[in-house]
């Protein structure tokens, strides 16, 4: 499917959607925080520290969601050679990395009162840590080339190889964790979450998703504009613009 990448359609659509995603993010997160911090009851076991859940759980969801989105865009980019798909993957990676970092940080902050240590080689935390390295690997690879298209294509292959490995890593870390560590006492999702806790959790989850699309659109637009800047630079470099002499004969204005 060849179309010398004319991204204007994406620019129009994203231009229209940006204000909506921005507004819905602010509203959802504000509502989620308000309910989570003020209205929802403390946990009978953990007391107030359970409120960390309202950021830890959504960031963990987003960490996985972003990598799936990244791998999906990479697959579309590789299979259908659509340049925008590659840009979409490149734009999604930093957001995913930030969410993974937050998932780890809030997880460890929540772990301290519960398990008494900042870091716990719990199967989930460990596989999220490995996922964080996969993100860093992708971002480093994409920016390691002079030619940006070369970078995103290499990154797409890595994203797919990484995506195939995520379940394998999860499986091997679970196995490894059960060998070394008794299954962690604290069960993250508890028996059944009380609706008063579930609603803020879902609000935050959806709010973080719209946040993702908001920042993702900003970053994709930046990539598109950067592409146009590079095109301008190249035209400045071409010393001898070829003037068509009108009768289809190419006349090079400079020897």
């Amino acid at each position: 499917m060849h179309r010398f990448a004319n991204p204007n359609r994406f620019m129009q659509i994203s231009g229209a959607l940006l204000p909506w995603t921005a507004a819905s993010t602010v509203l959802l997160v504000a509502a989620g925080l308000y309910l989570g911090l003020f209205r929802a009851p403390p946990d009978y076991q953990q007391g107030e520290s359970v409120r960390i859940m309202y950021v830890h759980v959504p960031t963990s969801w987003m960490a996985m969601f972003c990598y799936t989105f990244l791998a999906g865009s990479a697959a579309v980019g590789l299979i259908w050679k659509h340049p925008l798909a590659d840009l979409s993957a490149k734009a999604a990676a930093p957001i995913g990395a930030c969410f993974t970092l937050l998932a780890l940080a809030t997880g460890s902050l929540w772990g301290k009162p519960m398990w008494g240590t900042w870091w716990e080689w719990d199967a989930r935390l460990t596989s999220v840590l490995v996922l964080f390295f996969l993100y860093l690997g992708y971002i480093a690879l994409v920016n390691a080339f002079d030619d940006p298209t070369r970078g995103v294509r290499a990154g797409s292959i890595l994203a797919l190889v990484g995506f195939v490995n995520v379940p394998i890593i999860k499986f091997s870390v679970d196995w490894w964790n059960t060998l070394h560590q008794p299954a962690s006492v604290f069960r993250m999702d508890g028996p059944t979450i009380h609706t008063s806790m579930l609603i803020p959790l879902l609000l935050m989850g959806v709010g973080f998703t719209t946040y993702f699309f908001w920042v993702w659109m900003l970053r994709v637009r930046t990539e598109i504009v950067a592409g146009k800047i590079r095109a301008h630079r190249r035209r400045q470099v071409q010393r001898a613009p070829v003037d068509f002499a009108g009768d289809g004969r190419a006349v090079s204005t400079e020897g």
Binding site: G137, A140, A144, D146, G151, A154, I157, L158, N165, S172
Partner: protein
């Protein structure tokens, strides 16, 4: 098939002419392992407990040493382009490279490992399983590493970037490699771990040449 054999022959001749490389890899492996007693202390039973982990992590790093030069030399002097133009599919060329890499790094590690296990005072029960696990694990490390080497081809920061890409993917092999040896020492069955290592090998044998070939095509565009 003769073309594959022809490429293999050339790789071995090149490896043989560059004999020093595989020697350096083994020297690095030995050095890395010997450093641990200085760090952790010569206490025999501590060393015995961490022996399997130390050997496997050192083997991981040693394997990665040989990866960066895997395609770089051919890429720079133009042979890689011509190899891509042979009627042989690119995956065949990748397999030849993996075989050459394994023979110059994986095999020497396999030979050196038991000696180092002895130095680390590892329980004798673990020796045979260590060799079996390394036999199944090191080719997988070479295969996954080849994908990394192909991906970083032509990038500015080859070496460091390669390790950042490849190490997370090595974790499953590391986990099951070490647990196989620990299980053997502990007297438990090792069949499950070895079977899983075998599964990793077969899976990467199927997937990695394809991914590395795709990466090479990007690099040679």
């Amino acid at each position: 098939m003769t073309r594959l054999a022809c490429i293999l022959g050339r790789e071995f001749r090149l490896a043989q002419r560059h004999g020093m490389d595989s020697v350096l890899v083994v020297v690095f492996f030995v050095l890395a392992v010997v450093l641990f007693p200085f760090g952790v202390g010569p206490e025999p039973n501590i060393l015995a407990r961490i022996a399997a982990g130390v050997l496997w992590v050192a083997a991981l790093f040693a394997t990665m040493l040989g990866l960066e030069r895997l395609f770089q030399a051919d890429y720079e002097d133009g042979s890689l382009e011509l190899l891509m133009l042979t009627p042989l599919p690119l995956e065949g060329v990748v397999l030849a490279k993996v075989a050459a890499h394994w023979l110059t790094t994986g095999l020497p590690l396999l030979i050196a490992a038991p000696l180092l296990a002895a130095i680390l005072n590892m329980n004798v029960a673990g020796f045979l399983v260590l060799i079996l696990a390394l036999l199944l694990g090191t080719p997988t490390l070479s295969l996954i590493g080849t994908v990394g080497a192909a991906l970083v081809l032509g990038s500015r920061r080859g070496g460091i970037l390669l390790s950042l890409l490849v190490l997370p993917l090595y974790i499953p092999v590391l986990i099951f490699g070490v647990s196989a040896v620990d299980a053997a020492i502990g007297g438990f069955g090792v069949r499950a771990q070895l079977l899983i290592l075998g599964a990793f090998l077969l899976a990467s044998l199927a997937l990695c040449p394809w991914a590395a070939a795709a990466a090479l095509r990007q690099a040679l565009e």
